[in-house]
Symmetry: C2
Subunit: 203 residues, 2 copies
Amino acid sequence: MTRRSPRRGRAGRRPGGPDTRGEILAAARVEFSDRAFDGASIRAIAARAGVDPALVHHYFGTKEQLFLAAMDIPFVPSELAAQIVSGPIDTIGERAVRTFLLTWGDPVKRAPILALLRSAMTHDVAAALLRQFAARVMLARVVEGLQIADRELRAEAAVSHLLGIAVMRYVVRIEPIASATDEELVTLVGPVIQRYFEDDGNP
Amino acid sequence: MTRRSPRRGRAGRRPGGPDTRGEILAAARVEFSDRAFDGASIRAIAARAGVDPALVHHYFGTKEQLFLAAMDIPFVPSELAAQIVSGPIDTIGERAVRTFLLTWGDPVKRAPILALLRSAMTHDVAAALLRQFAARVMLARVVEGLQIADRELRAEAAVSHLLGIAVMRYVVRIEPIASATDEELVTLVGPVIQRYFEDDGNP
């Protein structure tokens, strides 16, 4: 499929009115809930909102950015993933735990991720949405920086540990993990997760 | 609070009729949803069902057993925990992963745990129920068998990893972790979880 350059200036089908942004976001929420992440397209979202696709790109940028705006996620997961991967490989476990806890520890950042996770726990399309978004946007960024065997499986094992900690600490709130400090968890969990990023020759 | 011996034979307030078991289970579900695990009592459940507490003990045994029956959980988590802890300490990680995957891999066993987890994700009392049940029944059994510092926190870190794998593998169903074999995961995750059961002198 060929695409027009997003900023070509053909945004004239309907100019951006005061609530055009809101209408695009509403259309995006419907499109993502109906078709998950892979099935949703900027073009279809623009059509739902009755605007030119170029206007959607102009307001929101990429599909990832539109998704984050539609879901009210106030940070960019792929940037966090890039930060985690970009430092020295022998402290990646520690960086992963610290970055993750900083994000989940902030109620404003936690609420929308938790909403996504809750939907995924009960609805198949929401599960697909979370799965595809995680795979395309976050895991892809982590995995492309790794030079080890089984890097997809290892990255997912690491993420699963972080996700489980988030559920135990912030949702089920079981003690002592709920009241442990971030640094206690970085010290305990960091070296454990680090194991996944060390190519030890195991299958 | 003193208690009558459960089998003293004073079960005469109402004899067990054909659906007395069902009424006790229904009363237990209400009591557990209202008061979580710690707040629920056999006595209060018996009162709701209009039977003598001895009859509840007679039919269902302990509060843990009644809880499992009320929630349709077809296995005894404290027995699984005991199995995991009872073998050699240097293979406890592997045993934990294998036992956990066998249980979650069975749709009949997975469904009720997933139902509990879903409720816990959205309702505070359900979160308390899961938290208290996990702490009193499963974690207590694991922790009492460990001779390491910070054993509660370490046991919870291990459980959080297993829980996160269950969510990624069986709920979000992200690849490749969803299609990996149990043994691949035992090989990859077992030695990582093992770290939590080794007292390495870290704080």
